[in-house]
Symmetry: D2
Subunit: 311 residues, 4 copies
């Protein structure tokens, strides 16, 4: 279980089978950095082009198509003070024909991010949100791997390989499971957010560069269809597509499969349990693909006597 | 502020401009009952046809098109022991081509609902969920009013008038705001659920007949576009349509309008606040129209100094 | 086979179980008129409110739920010179965030409709379309019947009962099949268009009042799921919903059923034939429900030896 | 204007910035071959893996991001006798919950393609379609270029770069305009179909290997947003996404832009003309992205006096 200090020098705007920037063993941990969504680093120096330049890829020795990569996200910490957002909700989340009557013009809004205080504070433009400290909730907008059949998919969007899911559940403490399609898995991360609502409805999440610490492990021979995640409270299955209806279909089907395969539920039990207890979160609603997350409380499973097969 | 004990004798399968079953004054409270989604009452006697037969309509004196009806839901209490569900998730929430491999056939599943114990327990079919007490969480699948221009809309679906939103937030303690389109508003309720996951993904919510207690008030001259709700924690705006994307559009636009009109935010402030703090819940995903709920924590508004104009 | 001259005095903005305006026998023909989408008649006098006021309902003696109503549309003839449209495509058919840069303001555009010359000519506003005669192609935006379970559905939208499908195939010479849900079927028509592109993308079809001649017949005991139509060239099955994907699902499933039931194809033959020969038309893309039409050339069926069972 | 005889030896399952297989000058023509969707060539020998292996990429000297590549498709001729299809419509084009009752099992159906006779004839399975000659209508399911920002997109799907649009309009005689994103454009083609209905609703188009002859030219400095095409009759703008609604949005917006930029219409004229004359075709409805085609008859433009700026 080695630890790697990794300083990226090359960034990618697609997740694909790019040359590995780091090779590690399963179980190793990594400390690294992520530039912001427009490629600016901790000193606000532009290091990479848009969109969402990624740190990586990290090659996990032994990973092969059909395996599952296990990401444990230990720390996601803003490494500069200044973050930014747009100042408006995206047209696709508002009624057709909606016209916003703004009294000011805002190209970008600027936020002061104070890690010690745990706050995010609007500095520009000037309105009644300005100067009011909001809670810092750091997360990663993008995590993912190289997709299947050699695709290289824009970091503006998401699919079965992960990508730009902008899900507030991808935060310190979470374990994410990603399907491996290419040798080494080829893990990418980026698009740090200091504070984001559901869905990244304004297309931004207080965009900021980050220090990131995580470990990567491998489950050999275990095949999953879509990104999964779990924390102390929830199992979470992600589906990425448009419309949201189809993202729900993928996420729900993946959760049924998860309950069957890992928790030993019959199909009937899985359907009946979800009918009573399923929850959904909205991930990204800004990209070409939207994200929905199908969730089940682990306590519900435990109380009913369903335990993970390897537990 | 009179209280009315109302025993329904006629039920409706549409929300429309039907003859009022009860006239009340704004502020009055009502105790009544709701049969289950197939029309069976507290003695399991069939009283009405499908789908979702409604109690009502209740005519609120003075209500006119352009007003807002205010429902305070005080109590929703199952009034018999037996509830039922389907035993399978609906095809529209699972992947195209998904085929469930059930080892048993289930037309309906039966549940024992124990109000005193606060539990819901599967009695049939037999599997590892059977006999395990689950938490009772009573709610109403349908609340609504007569729609605009004399429409009579099936209680299987939902629109701007409310209807079959199957949202777990429509539970005791909630205040619901409904747009008035017809004289008297003409309020309906029904489709009681003892325990439902997000989205009513299996098309049922442990369907059961209910005792219901509520009050109805009126805000004269206040016009809203979509059903709104609030409880101690959240403001909630509902959007009803397909696909979910469009339900999100309606719900989000309604929330922007709510923040502007009632809480005095500028358009810019509303957009920026939602970008940081918006949350979404999935309501019904079974009907012709799906439901999405756009939420904001009232504490967020309060901490930022935004108070309701009448507060 | 009587012929009825019917002058409507009442108009409806919903299709529902309204009091019959005319009773006829199956096979009877009717000559009547339709006001335009805003309720203006042949003298441009306002006779009814919006939206899309309907002539009818016509009660066909003997029609019961589960039957099919057969509309033969003989003549649809504009009965005044002046028609109108909007001057812009609807926001929902253009990219999210699209902003039109119009150099003029147009609330409504006005067209001169010359039945003898067979032309439709823009008179206002002034641009390079103005004064240029376009071909007159009269059609009905709405045909339908009273829906199931007593619903009364706005004439702004469409569903299994027909309604505002705005399909250019609903023109003189077509035969339309409508599912009967209520006693007498209760047939409605309205929303005449002088010239419309696919989808009614600007929300209008050169809106004009019409003289209409048609006959209504009945197929007892024949149940269909969605409106069907045929002319000399095509079988056409209509599906109405959002998104278009779902309208396609309804229309295609109805066409499979049609080929199986009436033309005697096995399910396999129906699937394989559609795979090679299916065509689609876009109906209304402006309303709450969109319309897609699934088509098969009758010549294809004939050449393969598939004939209608009653042919 | 050289002519190149090009025999592919490498095939690609993504459209991306792969090493050019051929360099040509703008205006040059090419004769080549395309293997079928599963990689089998004219002798039915497997030459490449799935999905939809592509011939190319062809580097057009001088092509740069922001240019437009002009494909003239001269000939698409099946080069073997045997083609294949699935035997069933895809689940995503049929109602949720639809279950086909097939009386036989069909993994693949086989067709005899006779170029001289101009026919496509089912040979297996046996049913009433078998042995009946259908008209040969050869086309290419995929044409496209390397996408933007170095993406490599699966040939199972489509986007702004073209790809698997499965549009029956991509047939001999058509001119296709593709946006250039990468140096040389990097043109790909494949997925030959002998006979396909709208939408490739069964996921196949009588899949067969093809001899293809075409020329590629360049319009320097002309930037388009989505693939465009024209033949003697129509201008066609393609939009690729899900749901179909969004594909319509992209296609319609691109057509508005085309009319403005190349035919000199004002925005108002473009909107008003499309309102009267727009037509839509359904391309692929099987892939992750669906395709809609927005069409206008060139005769309509000519009669109104609108001519292309370079004409």
């Amino acid at each position: 279980m080695a630890h790697h200090e990794f300083s990226p020098t090359t960034y990618y705007n697609t997740m694909g089978t790019h040359p590995p920037a780091l090779h590690i063993e399963p179980g190793d941990s990594v400390s690294t950095t992520a530039v912001d969504a427009r490629g600016f680093d901790h000193e606000n120096v532009e290091r990479a082009g848009r969109p969402n330049p990624q740190t990586g890829p990290i090659y996990v020795n032994g990973a092969e198509a059909g395996d599952t990569l296990v990401l444990q996200l230990h720390a996601v910490v803003p490494n500069r003070r200044m973050g930014w957002t747009t100042g408006r909700l995206a047209p696709n989340v508002l009624d057709f024909g909606y016209e916003a009557n703004f009294s000011d013009e805002v190209e970008l809004a600027w936020w002061d991010v104070d890690v010690e205080a745990g706050t995010v504070t609007l500095t520009e433009p000037q309105n009644r949100l300005t100067g009011q400290p909001l809670p810092l909730k750091p997360m990663l907008g993008t995590v993912g791997v190289a997709p299947d059949i050699g695709e290289a998919i824009s970091t503006m969007t998401s699919a079965a390989h992960g990508g730009n899911m902008d899900y507030i559940g991808i935060k310190p403490g979470v374990t994410v499971y990603l399907p491996v399609f290419a040798d080494g898995g080829l893990f990418f991360l980026g698009d740090g957010h200091a504070l984001q609502g559901d869905g990244e409805m304004d297309g931004t999440g207080v965009e900021i560069s980050m220090d990131v610490r995580f470990s990567l492990d491998l489950i050999k021979g275990k095949t999953i269809g879509w990104p999964r995640a779990e924390d102390d409270t929830y199992l979470m299955a992600c589906g990425n597509h448009r419309p949201l209806d189809q993202a729900v279909q993928h996420a729900t089907t993946e959760m049924v499969s998860w309950l069957e395969t890992d928790y030993g539920l019959t199909t009937r039990e899985a359907h009946m349990l979800l009918g009573r207890f399923v929850e959904y979160d909205v991930g990204n609603m800004f990209d070409p693909a939207y994200t929905m997350v199908c969730k089940v409380k682990k306590a519900v499973l435990a109380e009913l006597g369903f335990a993970p097969s390897d537990g």
